[in-house]
């Protein structure tokens, strides 16, 4: 089993990290680790990252050494069956401003970019950066493309883009450097909804091409 290294992040948080490479199996263990620590005394927040878990705690109710031991105990437990993520289909109008650039870079026709982007099954590894922003694994390697040299000052909410080996959807308008290939009308974040984000870690995602 992979060794989990635990480092303090200030006096009120621990950062638990696995050595690369990233894999779905290890990411599932990260989600399980978070689930297993949720009810531990003094734990205030569990933030999964890529191959890591950040744990914030109240140092007046527990201490770093106690929690580090709890983390290692939880990590040593045998892996459970991975949680069955829901399948979430996201309708996308593929008319992004950078679709032609992506097609040229990948030496594919724009339609083929769309076909490959919609064919893959993606997995939500974790959420971060913005409310409801999902880090998705599973982008077809032929569609990997570096970020734009000049980030846009504002990318509209719902934009679907490619940045390096990642694809994703911006839940809110933001400055951003990803290559924009389309947009979705599906809200990814709604503060009034329960839960407030459309996607959760472990969910499977498919993009479905729709007409404008």
């Amino acid at each position: 089993m992979s060794e989990l290294s635990v480092h303090p992040l200030g006096e009120a948080a621990l950062c638990c990290t696995l050595a690369p490479p990233v894999s779905l199996e290890l990411q599932q263990r990260i989600w399980q680790l978070a689930d297993g620590l949720r009810d531990t005394v003094g734990v205030q927040a569990l933030i999964p990252g890529m191959n890591n878990l950040t744990l914030a705690f109240d140092p007046l109710r527990t201490d770093a050494a106690t929690l580090e031991a709890a983390v290692q105990t939880a990590w040593a437990r045998p892996a459970r069956r991975p949680r069955a993520g829901r399948l979430v289909e996201i309708p996308v109008v593929y008319d992004g401003a950078d679709l032609d650039d992506v097609a040229r870079h990948c030496q594919l026709a724009p339609d083929e970019v769309v076909r490959r982007h919609t064919q893959a099954a993606y997995i939500v590894y974790f959420l971060g950066f913005q409310p409801g922003f999902a880090y998705l694994a599973g982008l077809d390697e032929s569609l990997h493309m570096p970020r734009r040299a000049e980030p846009r000052v504002s990318v509209p909410a719902g934009s679907v883009g490619i940045g390096g080996a990642q694809t994703g959807i911006y839940p809110l308008a933001t400055p951003g450097g990803w290559q924009l290939i389309g947009r979705t009308s599906m809200p990814l974040f709604d503060a009034q909804a329960q839960p407030p984000t459309a996607l959760s870690p472990g969910d499977r995602v498919r993009f479905v091409a729709v007409n404008a």
Binding site: E11, A13, G49, Q130, P171, P196
Partner: protein, 309 residues
């Protein structure tokens, strides 16, 4: 009800933030000077985490449409009620129809107006804090402006309110922040680590509630490659490839990818909230035990206020 006659550029409703949704990408938010927010609330008889008003750098004018018990904490700004000077860090009474004039801070950055009962904007996902980036919470998810009307949860004054004088001494403020080494501390060169602690870092104008971008000598990272995205918290000091550190604050995003050279201790985060753009700060190392002791002392002070008032 409180009517905003003038708000300044960045006035918001804040409480202690929204800690429970970080794994879904929601920023913590909450008062930048969390000590001042809690002290103000306790002075007026609220729980420490009630919602109050945070004003940034500029003067503000509020008209009260009901009697209210208030306290102003945080900055060193002057304040008056219909021309009568109000003592900061003390409880006071405003009568319906009176106007609170809050001056601009002289050296510090943020003033808090706590009102008995708390500001009654709806709680969203467990908090009344304004999330300016995501546009929710607080009053309509935005900064206050002229004409806004803020509901109060309970404008009733307790019997005898305003007759008993209650106050506290403002905490000593300075721009020296105690830090603990971050997970990537050892990746930096000895020269970079020495410079980190020896420099009077300038807070650049590109700073905001998300983080303070500092300017000084470039800090070189000697070891380690690209980091996988990881969780970050207010107080984390990141060093992007430019070598110019960024101190993350209340509205920071939940994950990042830059090396973390240090973490400002919890008990010193409020000092950052009072640090002006263009001013300078210094980092000094401490130990985890000192950090916890400082946090315990701060909590104890607030607990003593709660039971003593």
């Amino acid at each position: 009800m409180i009517e905003v006659l003038r708000a300044g550029p960045l006035a918001t409703v804040q409480d202690l933030g929204r800690p429970g949704w970080r794994d879904r990408g929601l920023s913590l938010c909450g008062a930048m000077d969390d000590f001042a927010l809690q002290a103000g609330n306790l002075l007026v008889g609220n729980p420490g985490d009630a919602a109050a008003l945070e004003f940034t750098l500029d003067a503000a004018t509020l008209r009260f449409h009901a009697d209210a018990c208030i306290a102003i904490t945080g900055s060193d700004a002057e304040a008056t009620i219909d021309g009568r000077p109000l003592r900061p860090w003390w409880r006071d009474t405003v009568r319906a129809g009176q106007t609170l004039q809050l001056g601009a801070p002289r050296e510090r950055m943020r003033s808090y107006v706590a009102v008995r009962g708390g500001i009654a904007v709806p709680a969203v996902l467990g908090s009344r804090s304004t999330d300016l980036k995501a546009g929710f919470g607080g009053l309509a998810g935005r900064a206050l402006r002229k004409g806004d009307r803020l509901p109060l949860l309970d404008a009733q004054l307790p019997p005898g309110a305003g007759t008993r004088r209650v106050g506290m001494r403002a905490p000593d403020w300075n721009a020296t922040l105690r830090v603990l080494p971050g997970p990537e501390h050892g990746d930096f060169s000895a020269a970079a680590l020495a410079a980190f602690e020896a420099t009077d870092w300038a807070v650049t104008p590109q700073s905001n509630r998300m983080g303070y971008r500092l300017s000084g000598p470039a800090l070189a990272r000697e070891r380690g490659g690209e980091l996988a995205s990881h969780g970050v918290l207010p107080g984390v000091v990141q060093v992007p490839p430019s070598g110019q550190p960024i101190v993350l604050l209340a509205d920071a995003q939940t994950t990042g990818g830059y090396p973390r050279i240090a973490v400002v201790i919890r008990a010193d985060l409020w000092k950052l909230g009072q640090l002006r753009l263009g001013s300078r700060l210094r980092f000094v190392p401490c130990t985890p035990d000192e950090a916890v002791a400082a946090w315990r002392a701060q909590r104890l002070l607030l607990d003593q206020m709660r039971s003593g008032l």
